[in-house]
């Protein structure tokens, strides 16, 4: 007989497959795992925490509706971020002119990375703080890969699957984004 395990021990992919074929209530676990990450990601994109909450809520509903589209060949986290990106893209097309820092307040972005749940395993903390501070002033095309790489700690391959762009373009945008920040606000000290 199988031993009872803590649900946190199961990978996202197993939970997703379980939700779609057996128990939709387990979808709560997916919300638990991704809520804060997606809100942080979305806030960096829309520069407004209230709008970000709304978009993340819609993202979860879309994810639930499209769960049968998920293929385990892709990392589940990449698929989740992809769905969030699509939600943002719809919003951005509709509200192209209001993506200025409306609704943001001083310290909003630094606050997002000072959360206890924020895990920084790969990057220099000073660099992450620097990017969190100034990435919001960049165009979306540079801001999004920068946030995914330095704040959300996604690899280039994962970003490729999320944004559905070739790795060379992603690498170019990340480098250009960093250079723009350094040129305007100096290097991370």
């Amino acid at each position: 007989m199988m031993s009872v395990m803590n649900i946190r021990a199961f990978p996202d992919e197993d939970i997703a497959l379980y939700v779609r074929s057996k128990d939709s209530e387990t979808f709560r676990e997916i919300i638990f795992r991704y809520e804060k990450k997606l809100i942080r990601y979305m806030t960096f994109l829309v520069k407004n925490d209230l709008t970000a909450h709304g978009l993340v809520q819609t993202t979860f509903l879309t994810v639930y509706r499209d769960l049968n589209q998920y293929s385990p060949r892709l990392k589940f986290s990449s698929w989740m971020y992809r769905k969030a990106h699509e939600e943002f893209a719809h919003f951005y097309k509709a509200q192209r002119k209001t993506t200025q820092a409306v609704g943001s307040y001083p310290g909003l972005f630094e606050e997002l990375i000072s959360d206890d749940d924020f895990e920084n395993e790969f990057s220099d903390p000073k660099l992450v703080k620097h990017i969190a501070q100034y990435a919001s002033n960049l165009k979306v095309m540079y801001r999004e890969p920068l946030v995914l790489h330095f704040i959300e700690q996604r690899s280039y391959d994962e970003i490729r699957d999320i944004l559905q762009l070739p790795v060379t373009i992603i690498a170019g945008r990340i480098t250009k984004g960093r250079r723009l920040i350094e040129k305007k606000y100096g290097k991370a000290s």
Binding site: M5, D14, D66, P166
Partner: protein, 232 residues
């Protein structure tokens, strides 16, 4: 292929976590009766897009091969000739199909791992490569003959036309020609057939019109042509 879930064995009470977000999302799923869309919807979408790409590519390859056929099959070269004989209709359709194929792949991110340049080059290689292979098959020649047969006929039989060089002429009413595509065809001359006044001799370029009977090409008319060797 749909991967089935593992039997996850966990305590249900562990799902007790409920943030505002979780509560709102689960409530909306229940109240708005949101259901997961069946897999067939996504499979159908992928199949539909793949079909569009395949059909467009197929049509594009066909028209590209028509360009090869029109320009290379006659083996006459030169800028003036090219300008006069470029099959603009096929060129237009081949380019349209190429662009449509490219646009569908790019818009629906069917090959997002490739850069635009690589995708462009890959499609170009596929179009030109397959078109060249198709040009090497007798498809266009057969299509041309079928089209001509449906327009013209000899004694109620569909007309067949061949142009080539006489390579062997052993008897008075049987000779062999090698067509421009390198095909060797045995020709039977029917009694009363029109032939060149100087007769038929090896090395002569001829145009044969006739019909097929039990797999044999029976000529009703043979016309001598000027030398058909490529222009120097």
């Amino acid at each position: 292929m749909v991967k089935h879930h593992k039997d996850l064995n966990f305590e249900k009470k562990e799902l007790a976590y409920e943030s505002g977000m979780s509560r709102r999302v689960m409530q909306r799923i229940e109240v708005e009766n949101i259901r997961m869309r069946p897999s067939i919807v996504f499979i159908a979408r992928t199949v539909f897009l793949s079909l569009i790409v395949a059909v467009t590519a197929g049509i594009g390859v066909f028209f590209t091969s028509v360009i090869f056929y029109k320009l290379l099959a006659v083996r006459v070269f030169g800028v003036r000739f090219l300008l006069l004989h470029i099959p603009w209709f096929s060129v237009g359709l081949a380019i349209s199909c190429f662009l449509l194929c490219f646009a569908v792949i790019e818009y629906y991110k069917l090959a997002y791992k490739l850069t635009l340049f690589r995708l462009f080059m890959l499609l170009a290689v596929v179009f030109v490569g397959f078109a060249f292979l198709l040009y090497k098959t007798p498809l266009h020649e057969n299509l041309r003959r079928t089209a001509l047969s449906s327009i013209y006929s000899v004694d109620g039989q569909p007309l067949v036309l061949y142009a080539g060089r006489v390579v062997e002429s052993r008897t008075a009413n049987i000779f062999y020609i090698e067509t421009l595509r390198g095909e060797r065809v045995k020709i039977y001359l029917i009694r009363g057939a029109r032939i060149p006044s100087k007769g038929i001799h090896e090395g002569q370029s001829v145009f044969v019109a006739g019909y097929t009977e039990n797999g044999k090409v029976v000529a009703r008319s043979v016309m001598a042509l000027k030398d058909m060797s490529p222009a120097k």
